[in-house]
Symmetry: C2
Subunit: 126 residues, 2 copies
């Protein structure tokens, strides 16, 4: 699938720093891994960077691993830090903004976000 | 679904320390979050703890967030640390053992592992 993904058959071994990044919004860098039925990304947001309200058919879970992220969904805003997560169902509008030290997350989308696969392919260094 | 999961409708807010753990092997502690189509877990392994070779119909991705983990699949063994991940497809035998400082991961299974849901329910503190 990619020279960056080392593996054969049914196993993939992935190093974050070997995956070229894509940017889905200003200050937001995602490094994806593709399964058959899911997309998991290392996500890094610069301080104050964020993603405006949006929704998609995919379920999503975001697990904060560093920094802080304010997430809004269904009329509620919570600021999450390491050891906290949010899950949003299909078609649920949500938005997020990183705190003053930025944020790092592991995010998963089910099924694969094909728009992200296309963006990632277009982001490949030439 | 659970008093530990705070949310309504299409969003769940989850704090790791508020999710009761389940143990899938000696020295292996998992704190799960359930979507409709996936199960994501905070996983913590004590030094040297591991999971013997097994396989399942679910796709799996494990993202190491701390410590180190030696994973074997398809005749290859790799020791992964923070910023590294493995993906295994359905029915691919795999095993894993934590390094001398233990390991922490964010793991996702697609679809939901119903055996883990049942174990988690049985593990609920009375």
């Amino acid at each position: 699938m990619s020279g960056e993904v080392q593996g054969k058959g049914g196993v993939q071994w992935v190093k974050r720093d070997a995956v070229h990044p894509m940017s889905t919004a200003a200050g937001v860098e995602m490094r994806p891994m593709f399964g058959e039925g899911f997309l998991t990304c290392w996500v890094k947001l610069e301080p104050g960077a964020g993603v405006p309200q949006h929704s998609h058919v995919h379920e999503q879970v975001g697990v904060v691993t560093a920094g802080s992220l304010s997430v809004s969904a269904e009329g509620e805003t919570r600021t999450l830090s390491e050891g906290e997560a949010y899950l949003v169902g299909p078609h649920v509008p949500h938005e997020a903004t990183a705190g003053p030290n930025g944020a790092e997350l592991v995010e998963t989308f089910v099924p694969v976000r094909e728009d992200f696969r296309e963006l990632w392919e277009r982001s490949r260094p030439s």
